[in-house]
């Protein structure tokens, strides 16, 4: 199985869908190579979707805004032949300190194809409801929406009653609110105006569970000093190869230009699928382990060289830097990796490792956290909503590569704006058939819909999740965005839209 480059997937590639089976069947039948490309209209019924979901929320608080109870019931649609489950109601148990919580999850079997995971599966859905409801509560209680969240900050995981492995959500709120200028918000909905447009500020929290799966990676150091790292992981767009190159280069102390990372083929060492924000935590950990193992081998080989200063030296005393290893406390000990391989007449040295999580999962509750702040302008005459600013801050542990991480955060915001304002697959139920069957009728944001976006990361290693301290970012980037937009629309107009997407017809 080869899949070296992927032009986006967002969850649509997590299962093996019938069209792939059909192509394989035809190739077997004809004994010829067979190509099958889905038409855009077939993309609506062939590769899953985010399921239609209805959620009821009841939230009670005391007059100071301290949460008393939350009841969250979510029902999603699925097919008649499979039950697709997603995390819709789970965040409600963990996000806020609240003593009394009830959640219920139901499915409705319909004559439709089976849904699947779509970016932020379940959580993006559930947090639209929860964070809209918190916003409604803030107006009912007369408390600033951000202040309401701070008053209910969960210092421990209220569901499992465990400490968080790390949580800097408070710092996320402060960072994003400052950058956004949240303090300039007028409390009264509909009271901020700009050249005839209604301005609205909205915010929402986000969280996403930490996922780490068993992963393997192999690191091969060549005599010319180049490193090849391999794992059967994928890159649907976040820049997997870039992050892994960075981890390997840092571990081995070589320039990233000397590293090649191979992915996207099932012939490579086993890796989990690219989903659930698990790639960097899982595969990154395996790359880390394989590189560490390779360093141990190199040290042993160096130690076997005549007169080597590396004999009987512990790995912790050795520095790996600029393609060389050296003893920190002894000058003149540096020896290049190439020399070591040359001496032993080796073309390459390799190490393969498997990495998986351990007992830390039982001692700590592990989540990524974050928040989004959004400004919208609503045209009071036409009902058109434009997002004019967005600021996001995420606490996802250590950032492996800022530039690609930032792109991922921006991508999540863009997806969230689409979810909030335009994306809807519409079916004519008399026929049971979608009328949205192309990109002219299924709208996703275009450049003109996307404003200045500022992305911040706390960038602190989570010391309990794995050796690299990274928690994964892809999913949380979209979680909560739709609520932040809907909350901003309410602030601008005084109209609470509880049914996405927020199209002009609902506001005019």
């Amino acid at each position: 199985m080869v899949s070296k480059y992927i032009g986006g997937a967002f969850g649509s590639g997590i299962r093996v869908w019938p069209h792939t089976v059909a192509a394989v069947l035809a190739a077997k039948h004809l004994k010829r190579p067979v190509k099958l490309v889905l038409g855009r209209e077939q993309m609506f019924t062939s590769v899953g979707y985010r399921p239609y979901t209805v959620q009821k929320l009841a939230i009670g608080a005391d007059r100071n805004g301290k949460l008393v109870a939350m009841v969250h019931e979510g029902t999603g649609q699925t097919s008649q032949y499979e039950e697709h489950l997603e995390r819709t109601i789970l965040a409600t148990r963990a996000l806020y300190a609240c003593p009394n919580v009830v959640t219920k999850y139901r499915l409705l079997n319909l004559d439709v194809n089976t849904p699947t995971w779509m970016r932020g599966p379940g959580d993006a859905t559930g947090m639209f409801a929860l964070e809209s409801a918190l916003d409604e509560l803030s107006y009912a209680a007369g408390i600033d929406p951000l202040e309401l969240r701070l008053r209910n900050y969960a210092e421990l995981d209220p569901e499992r009653n465990l400490p968080w492995s790390a949580k800097s959500l408070r710092k996320c709120y402060e960072t994003a609110a400052d950058a956004f200028g949240w303090k300039n918000r007028a409390a009264q909905p509909g009271s901020m105006k700009n050249k005839g447009m209604l301005t609205g500020f909205g915010m929402a929290s986000s969280l996403y569970g930490f996922h780490r799966h068993p992963s393997q990676a192999k690191a091969i150091l060549n005599r010319d000093g180049t490193l090849v790292v391999q794992s059967a992981t994928m890159d649907i767009g976040p820049g997997t190869g870039t992050a892994m190159t960075r981890i390997a280069a840092e571990r081995l102390g070589i320039s990233s230009s000397k590293v090649r990372f191979d992915l996207g083929s099932s012939d490579l060492p086993d890796a989990p699928g690219q989903n659930g924000s698990s790639t960097v935590p899982s595969v990154g950990s395996a790359v880390y382990a394989a590189c560490e193992s390779l360093k141990t081998k190199l040290l042993t080989l160096a130690g076997q060289m005549p007169g080597s200063p590396f004999q009987h030296v512990g790995a912790e005393q050795v520095l790996f830097k600029n393609g060389q290893m050296l003893l920190e406390k002894e000058a003149g000990t540096a020896i290049s990796f190439s020399k070591i391989l040359e001496h032993h007449n080796l073309q390459q040295v390799e190490a393969q490792e498997e990495s998986r999580s351990g007992a830390e999962r039982d001692r700590y509750s592990m989540y990524s956290f974050g928040c989004h702040f959004v400004e919208v302008q609503v045209n009071p005459f036409t009902g058109e909503v434009r997002v004019t600013r967005a600021v996001t801050c995420a606490d996802v542990g250590k950032i492996i590569n800022h530039k690609t991480a930032r792109s991922q955060a921006i991508g999540g915001l863009v997806g969230g704006i689409g979810m909030a304002l335009m994306e809807a697959s519409v079916m004519d139920h008399r026929f049971g058939r979608y009328v949205t069957s192309d990109l002219a009728t299924y709208h996703i944001p275009v450049h003109a819909d996307i404003p200045q976006m500022d992305v911040f990361f706390i960038d602190e290693a989570d010391q309990y999740v794995n050796a690299i301290g990274a928690k994964g970012l892809g999913e949380i980037a979209i979680v909560g965005v739709a609520a932040a937009v809907a909350n901003a629309v309410f602030h601008a107009t005084g109209k609470r839209i509880r049914e996405l997407p927020i199209t002009p017809d609902k506001l005019v």
Binding site: G39, E41, T382, V435, T441, V446
Partner: protein, 332 residues
């Protein structure tokens, strides 16, 4: 896609003859709509007559008329100095249509002749009177959020068609009293742009009044005194690259605070670009004011109907008319 023959004539009469002599033949210019229709099996021509090599690309201004060849590209026209100077409303409308890539391919003639974007028309599994006469209009009791509020009788709608003409350019040309130059086998004829598209009536399969073997060769727009008092307002589901929910082309000639001439046309509301003649007349001779614009908008809405999901257009459309007029009059 069905196999087809492909011709590339260099003379207008050759192209017209090639289509006239073969009922399965179609003209193709930019192809930005026809290729989609062929891929979805909506039309399956036996022969494509590529007209891109015909000498119909010229844009010029002569003796009080802006002349635009049918094959001039949307992007060229929108940026042409004569258009920007004489008919800025047309440039605005062109710029608000489609995307940069499409405007670089789409021609003026093709833009006017694009088919509706009604989803029922684009999917052969649904009934659609426009695609398959007599099969019914699925939109009347279906998904009709984007559909017509003008030019269709409610009682007769399921036998007719409530799809809308999708072009922005057409709305501006309708407002600007443009003329269409049409070449047939027998010679040339000219019609008002407002007579190019038709209402669906009992023949919703016909979008226009063109005969099968006729070819639009150009458009002419006579001078007017609107100057910069013209505005194209487009309401849409996203900021760009989306068809109008409702659009308004408004042009005013204001002299000493009084309206000397007015043009109002709407898009996204009918089977053709919809001129608001009565509203235009109401504005004549009166001083510019928001209240006046509201009256005009209300007059313009008198015959509007709606079909459920597009009820909101009855609120949105008059608001859009008022806003477009305010912009055109430069009153904020």
């Amino acid at each position: 896609m069905k196999a087809f023959q492909y011709l590339r004539p260099s003379k207008v009469q050759d192209a017209i003859r090639a289509v006239g002599s073969d009922p399965g033949a179609r003209f193709i210019a930019g192809g930005t709509n026809l290729i989609d229709l062929m891929k979805r099996g909506i039309v399956s021509p036996d022969k494509l007559v590529d007209i891109n090599h015909l000498p119909l690309k010229k844009i010029s201004y002569q003796s009080g008329r802006l002349k635009i060849g049918a094959l001039a590209l949307n992007s060229e026209v929108a940026a042409h100095p004569a258009v920007l100077q004489k008919q800025p409303l047309l440039a605005q409308a062109l710029h608000s249509g489609a995307s940069g890539q499409l405007r670089n391919m789409a021609t003026m003639g093709g833009n006017a002749l694009q088919r509706t974007r009604c989803p029922y028309f684009y999917d052969t599994a649904f009934p659609c009177n426009k695609r398959k006469p007599g099969s019914g209009c699925a939109a009347v009791e279906g998904i009709n959020r984007m559909h017509s509020i003008f030019g269709v009788e409610k009682a007769n709608a399921t036998q007719s068609c409530i799809a809308v003409h999708p072009s922005d350019m057409s709305v501006a040309l309708a407002a600007l009293d443009a003329e269409v130059i049409i070449q047939g086998q027998g010679g040339e004829r000219r019609i008002a742009f407002t007579d190019l598209h038709r209402l669906p009536g009992n023949q919703p399969e016909l979008d226009t009044t063109l005969e099968r073997n006729e070819l639009i060769t150009g458009f002419e727009i006579p001078d007017n005194d609107f100057g910069m008092h013209a505005h194209y307002l487009k309401v849409r589901d996203r900021a760009s690259f989306a068809f109008a929910i409702v659009s308004v082309a408004a042009a005013l000639d204001v002299k000493e605070g009084k309206i000397n001439a007015a043009r109002l046309a709407m898009g996204g509301v009918a089977h053709k670009p919809w001129r608001l003649f009565e509203a235009e007349r109401h504005l004549l001779g009166k001083p510019v004011s928001e209240a006046l614009f509201r009256q005009a908008a209300a007059l313009g809405m008198r015959d509007a109907v709606s079909f459920g999901q597009n009820d909101y257009k009855l609120r949105m459309a008059p608001n859009a008319v008022v806003q477009a007029l305010l912009h055109a009059a430069a009153i904020e």
